[in-house]
């Protein structure tokens, strides 16, 4: 039983590190602010959560505290990504190779700064 829990923890650490490496690689290589946000959202939601699952399997912390951290990360990560992308759109950072822009014809006062 101990061996099986350690094996699950080892696989979780390897997959979490792989997600973090792919997220940072996307942050360096992608051409645009919005696509970079798509890559960096994976680091918070998958990388750290899989490391926490490994910590639970090794018996380091109770399931309650780990659940608090996991729920907190899975709520605050998408909220942060949405806030940053809304700020980028409102100060008028252009998209590279975009197919269409659904907010281009809306003339509310929120988007008055956009060129």
């Amino acid at each position: 039983m101990e061996q099986i829990l350690q094996l699950i923890a080892l696989i979780a650490v390897i997959i979490g590190t792989a997600f973090s490496v792919l997220g940072v690689l996307g942050y360096i290589r992608f051409p645009d602010v919005y696509t970079r946000l798509h890559a960096t959202g994976k680091v918070g939601v998958f990388g750290v959560v899989l490391l926490l699952i490994a910590a639970v399997n090794l018996g380091l912390l109770g399931f309650g505290k780990a659940l608090v951290l996991i729920v907190m990360l899975m709520v605050t990560g998408p909220v942060t990504s949405h806030t940053i992308s809304a700020a980028a759109y409102r100060i008028g950072i252009p998209m590279k190779r975009a197919v269409r822009d659904d907010l281009a014809n809306i003339s509310t006062s929120q988007y008055k700064n956009r060129p």
């Binding site: 350690q6 973090s20 942050y27 960096t40 910590a55 942060t80 809304a86 700020a87 100060i91």
Partner: protein, 91 residues
């Protein structure tokens, strides 16, 4: 199994420290303000991952409490910095 787990954890710690160095370089040489803000958010997330790995290596649960505090504070900091970039004022 124990030795293999320790080796994988230390290799993961080295990879995360390398990724923090790359992100710090990218924050220093960013294209625009939003790009640097994404880099700062990613730095805080990677610091969180490093705290969890250090807690796993040292078998000490106190680092996870530090990680909980860091998660809350980095969320508030990123939100307020994004609002400051758009409106040029926090409140």
């Amino acid at each position: 199994m124990q030795n293999l787990l320790i080796f994988i954890l230390e290799a993961s710690l080295a990879i995360h420290i390398l990724m923090i160095a790359v992100c710090a370089w990218r924050v220093w040489r960013g294209e625009n303000a939003i790009d640097r803000l994404i880099g700062a958010d990613l730095l805080s997330t990677l610091t969180l991952a490093i705290l969890v790995i250090v807690a796993l290596i040292l078998v000490n649960s106190i680092y996870l409490d530090v990680a909980l505090g860091l998660a809350a504070l980095s969320f508030i900091g990123t939100i307020s910095l994004a609002k400051y970039i758009v409106d040029q004022s926090v409140f």
